[in-house]
Every structure is written in C-alpha cells, then in structure tokens.
C-alpha cells in the first residue's frame, strides 16, 4: 500500500518537473510547481500512515506515541501554507510583469528589467 502511494507521488512529481522545464507560458510553470508540491504532500501523508515514525524506532526515544505518528501530516500542513504563500506572490509578480511587458513567455523574460 505504501509503495502504491509513493509511486503515485513519484509520477505526479515527475509530471510537475517535466512541466516546469518544458512549458513556455509562465502560469503553466507555476501550475507545474503546484503539482510538485502536491506530490510531496501525498508522500508525506503516506509515510505518516504506513511507516513507523523514526522517533519511535530508536531506543530511548520515549513512548509518547501520539506525538510522533502524525509528524508527516503536520509537515504537510506547513507545505500547504508555504505553497499558498508562494502562489500568491508568484501570481502577483506575473500580473505586475504582464502590465509592464508585452509577453509572459519565459524565454522572453530572462531579465526583469524593462
């Protein structure tokens, strides 16, 4: 079960990577980055549900189980927060850029100056 979810996550991540490298429209690049964020979240949730937390695997780690089994999901919450901040700022940059320039194709945007 863990392997299935990780394979799905890997496929999504590679689709996102391909999109980031190959698309010319800058909003398509941002959307591909979002797909990569989501792939990472799928992997985090899968690890959280199906593997023994590293903190419990070593002797002397304590027996406070509840604190460790949801580490992956907690990290996924913060990934979502950072992704939301990133997409808000990125799209604001794109809109500011589209006002000043004729194009938003990344090949034409190698500098930010006018």
């Amino acid at each position: 079960m863990l392997e299935r979810l990780l394979i799905i996550s890997a496929i999504l991540f590679c689709i996102g990577l391909y999109g980031v490298l190959s698309r010319r429209h800058i909003i398509a690049v941002i959307m591909s980055v979002e797909i990569m964020f989501n792939a990472v979240n799928v992997a985090l949730v899968a690890f959280s549900r199906y593997t023994v937390p590293a903190s419990l695997r070593f002797p002397g780690a304590g027996t406070d189980v509840e604190r460790f089994v949801l580490e992956g999901q907690t990290l996924a919450v913060f990934v979502i927060v950072v992704a939301a901040a990133e997409v808000a700022l990125g799209l604001a940059l794109i809109i500011a850029l589209a006002r000043r320039r004729d194009t938003i194709h990344i090949s034409d945007l190698s500098t930010l100056r006018r």
């Binding site: 799905i8 909003i27 949730v45 549900r49 949801l70 999901q73 799209l91 809109i95």
Partner: protein
C-alpha cells in the same frame, strides 16, 4: 480502516487515474485556461486520496485551499494575462525535459520498490489506532503544542505574502 474491500480498491484506483491523468493534461494542453481547470480536478483527486489514508483534515484543507483559493487565484491570473488560448507551447528543451522526467521517475520507482520500509503492522497497535481515529483533534493538539513556533511563523509568512502581493500589483499613478 480503508482498503479492506474491493469497493475501496476501485475508488482508490479511480482517484489515482483521475489525478495523474488530469496532472498530465495540465502540462499537455495548449489552452492555459483548460490546463487551470484540469489542475483543479487533479487537486480534488488528491483530496480524495488524502481522505482514504486517514488524513481527513488535510483532505478538507486541500479542497478549501487548493480547490478553492489557489484555483481562483490561478484562473484570475490567467484571465489578466494574454496568449491564453495558444500560449502553452513547449520550450526548446522539451525533449530533454521529457527524458529527465522519465529518468527521475525510473530512479524513484526503483528505489521505492527496492527499499525495505519499516512498516506499521496491518492491525495497528492500540495507541496508534486511536490517533488515526481522530486525526483532526490530534493534529490541532500538535500544532498548538510541539509545533507552535512553526505555526506562528507560518502566520507571519502568510501576512508577509499578502502584503507583498498587494504592494506588487498596486497601480502606481505617480510613476
């Protein structure tokens, strides 16, 4: 627990196919607007996968933040820019990107299959099973105790992002 019968297997594979298929369409479609709509489908499919692996809170957050907020932001940005219909062409490095993606996928799949994971037993031990019965409660407790510093920093980050976005898109009449 999920995955104990044929029905949940079917639902899982349907979600997986929809998620991956629509993600592939996002990077394939020429029309950037349709790609944005496919992105929403992909986000909702991932929310379904979350719900099936005991991440109910994350599933709801995924629908609200990605299916709602980020989708609206992206579609707004699409409508405020040009070249919407044909702009999503490939760059010159497209074949290289495809090869890199396939190579990375192969490497990842190989290591995922080869690795020896420290899996939890099929029938979860008592304390862990109770955590997965009430994940939102436990998650809220964690966020406000062990991870409270990161929680506050995330709030500051969001505030900074909102202020930054506003100052970036503000019309400057004096300039």
């Amino acid at each position: 627990m999920a995955f104990d019968n044929l029905f949940s297997e079917i639902v899982f594979w349907a979600l997986a196919v929809v998620t991956i298929g629509s993600a592939a369409l996002v990077v394939h479609l020429r029309s950037i607007f349709r790609a944005a709509l496919m992105l929403v489908v992909s986000f909702l499919g991932i929310a379904g996968i979350f719900a099936m692996v005991n991440a109910e809170f994350l599933a709801v957050v995924q629908v609200l933040v990605y299916g709602g907020g980020i989708a609206v932001l992206v579609i707004f940005a699409v409508m405020m820019t040009r070249d919407v219909d044909t702009g999503n062409r490939s760059t010159a490095v497209q074949p290289v990107a495809l090869m890199m993606g396939i190579a990375l996928l192969g490497a990842l799949a190989y290591s995922i299959v080869q690795a020896e994971w420290a899996l939890l037993p099929d029938s979860l031990p008592g304390p862990i099973a109770t955590v997965f019965v009430e994940t939102p409660t436990q998650l809220g407790r964690l966020l406000l105790s062990d991870y409270v510093l990161a929680f506050e920093v995330a709030g500051v980050l969001l505030l900074a992002a909102v202020i930054g976005a506003l100052s970036l898109v503000r019309e400057r009449h004096d300039a």
